[in-house]
Symmetry: C2
Subunit: 295 residues, 2 copies
């Protein structure tokens, strides 16, 4: 399939409760070809606490949520990446991103492979680890390597999407500060998060789109100080260069023009992928320091 | 072996021709426990051109070069990381880092695994790919994961050193600008290089030391505009936070105090390594986009 060389990418950095449909419409009117929503955008970030009632938020695919966004993708003629708490037809649960093409067709889905578990982020209580691997999703604007939040910390995930032919890496996320941390720690955490994702662009010579939540959400369990979602969504090119970024508190659309040909130019100058030492990488798939052994 | 919790790390960002021994002595007098030299520091960066005469620069281990630096490590009672064009006793050639412990003993060596090949960096002409894998080297101050220059672009390398127990990642490098590139491209390249290495710290929760050359070196073959080595050596902590850095042109010692306990604290907050999906990583060791197939 022939793909365009440049595209207008947009993301919606939103707080829970924002009018997503209106913002989608506005982004489309600005000329977006691709629109990204943050992780689990239709709900408060319920994983702050372990509550069996929250399983009622899960939906099948197709279902009301995907029907709604499918229609919006078609109506606006955009590639749209949404995030959903998925219940499978065998009654399992995943943290899933769904990609709609410009005609509203479901182009594919990605089930979050790396699931966090810790204070304020009890995702292993809700979600099974993804079972579809690291496969980019073909759309009319290119192959999109969708990864989700905690996947950000794993260069393996970005590399696998690249090896499988991704043209762009996209990260819907929901991450923020613990309000009790001091300002230095908050800055280090934010910088680490930005750096590691810009580095996925660098290491793979691909553009990267990161769409985070903003705004404070209290812990529904009342056990912690809640999460101050740190925004700072960004779009960068294949050298990690920022094409656009938002601050911590903006609830707004971020747009940037991505030149997919730039990846070729960068790979001509620094052709890392030719020099991978697969003969020396075997320990990457050995049981070392890893809890989840599912071979 | 019990290792100290904090250590004074130093690196020598030097131009070819600088008095390395004097700078080593100065760094030791400042209290360094660990001193890092840049890639192939005893020679001009001869890989700018393919010239069979340059093979005469290769040395065996042990040999005059390692004897010299072994004595300096013992004399100053520092762990010392040097970089050498190694000729093996079977007449093969490697780009090798050697680590001496504080008593001058050779603690171990690392042979550069990823070898670049392109204008100004014809390393595949000179060096066989490393054959010792990604093994950190045990010293009296901890296990040091030494990687070399082009290895910087491969998150796989940093991860493998981490899985094998590294306490610190160290990159001796020799990288610079093509003087004919415009300023925007130069800035993007430098930023990419800094970001990707700070991200190795982030993704692995380890401190990282990067020691680069500075100064201009002409192409001995006369075919290109030479290399303007871009310096910018740095030391960062396990969240990628800069503990110290130099600019492009400083020929000087950079020192920073590294707290190895900080790695524990960071891994308690963001314990990525527990959540690796080794069951989904198999394609990392498949022949995809890779020239060097040596299974």
């Amino acid at each position: 399939m022939s793909t365009p060389n440049t595209l207008n990418a947009a993301l919606l950095q939103i707080s829970h409760g924002d009018d997503i449909d209106a913002k989608l419409s506005a982004a489309a009117k600005q000329g977006a070809h691709l629109i990204v929503l943050p992780e689990l955008h239709d709900h408060p970030y319920f994983c702050q606490t372990k509550d069996p009632q929250h399983f009622a938020l899960a939906e099948s695919i197709p279902g009301p949520c995907t029907s709604h966004y499918s229609q919006l993708a078609r109506q606006h003629s955009v590639v749209l990446i949404i995030s959903i708490f998925e219940k499978t037809n065998t009654r399992h649960f995943h943290n899933t991103a769904v990609v709609f093409d410009t005609d509203g067709q479901l182009a594919g889905r990605y089930r979050k492979m790396h699931i966090p578990e810790g204070p304020n982020y009890y995702e292993q209580y809700y979600f099974s680890p993804g079972d579809l691997g690291f496969e980019p999703i073909q759309t009319s604007i290119g192959k999109i390597g969708v990864l989700i939040c905690w996947d950000q910390w794993f260069p393996e995930a970005a590399r696998l999407m690249t090896l499988a032919g991704a043209d762009i890496l996209v990260y819907p996320t929901a991450i923020g500060w613990d309000p009790v941390d001091d300002e230095d720690e908050k800055q280090r955490q934010l910088d680490a998060w930005i750096i590691v994702q810009r580095a996925h662009a660098v290491a793979n010579s691909l553009p990267v789109i990161v769409c985070n939540r903003t705004g404070f959400e209290k812990d529904p369990g009342g056990n912690t100080s809640g999460i101050d979602f740190w925004g700072n969504s960004f779009i960068c090119g294949p050298q990690g260069e920022l094409l656009g970024s938002l601050n911590a508190t903006q609830s707004s659309i971020l747009s940037a023009r991505i030149d997919l040909n730039r990846t070729d130019e960068v790979r001509h100058v620094w052709p890392y992928l030719l020099d991978r030492r697969i003969d020396g990488y075997h320990d990457l798939i050995q049981q070392k320091l890893t809890n989840r052994i599912k071979k």
